[in-house]
């Protein structure tokens, strides 16, 4: 009994620390793609936290939305930003001499 409780406390502590660390890395890492991937991992760990807090309904919603759909939305938006970036770069290169007149 005592050992089980201790194990649960250890699990909670590791999970809480991992949540904070993943959030920090997702918000501080210089690469946006890496940040999004870390954020998806953060969402998956949140689903684990909901299970630990006796909230299986929330865990189901978080696993489907927080980890799946939000990640897909973020990655699609990043892809759009970068494709936009390339066309913009080509555009600017074409007009470079005129700009510096």
């Amino acid at each position: 009994m005592e050992a089980v409780t201790l194990l649960q406390w250890a699990f909670d502590a590791v999970l809480g620390f991992a949540l904070l660390w993943l959030a920090w890395r997702a918000l501080a890492s210089p690469d946006l793609f890496l940040a999004i991937v870390l954020f998806i991992a953060f969402g998956l760990l949140m689903a684990l936290a909901w299970v630990r807090l006796d909230a299986p309904d929330v865990a189901l919603a978080e696993a489907a939305i927080g980890a799946g759909l939000t990640g897909a939305l973020l990655l699609a938006a990043l892809a759009r930003l970068e494709s936009n970036n390339e066309t913009k770069a080509a555009h600017e290169k074409d007009h470079e001499p005129e700009v510096h007149d």
């Binding site: 649960q8 406390w9 909670d12 502590a13 809480g16 949540l19 904070l20 959030a23 920090w24 997702a26 918000l27 501080a28 946006l32 940040a35 999004i36 954020f39 953060f42 969402g43 949140m46 936290a49 909901w50 630990r52 807090l53 006796d54 909230a55 309904d57 929330v58 919603a61 978080e62 939305i65 927080g66 759909l69 939000t70 939305l73 973020l74 699609a76 938006a77 990043l78 759009r80 930003l81 936009n84 913009k88 600017e92």
Partner: protein
């Protein structure tokens, strides 16, 4: 003190972390991530406090509110991302800065 207070504290930590990143970073995608982290922190506090009565079934009302909140958060994120892509298309950049673009 039971383990749920640990999660509630982690929730307040996530909220503060997200707020810091929201203020410090200038890239809009990073700001959207920060708002999502803040929201997750709030959800964590709500659900943790719902489970604090030891031995009893957790309070279902905060659970329902958090489920609603998760869906609202994803739709707001989608809208914010669409706005970000639009800002990028109009101004050529997805970052905020103090000097105004001429």
């Amino acid at each position: 003190m039971s383990h749920v207070f640990l999660y509630a504290l982690v929730g307040t930590g996530l909220f503060t972390l997200g707020l810091y990143a929201l203020i410090v970073h200038t890239h809009l995608l990073r700001k959207i991530l920060a708002i999502n982290v803040m929201g997750s922190g709030v959800f964590l506090v709500l659900v943790a406090l719902a489970a604090r009565a030891r031995g009893a079934a957790p309070d279902p009302v905060p659970h329902a509110m958090v489920i609603t909140g998760i869906v609202v958060a994803v739709s707001a994120t989608a809208l914010a991302l669409a706005l970000m892509v639009r800002v990028r298309a109009e101004t050529g950049r997805a970052e905020l800065s103090e000097e105004r673009p001429e």
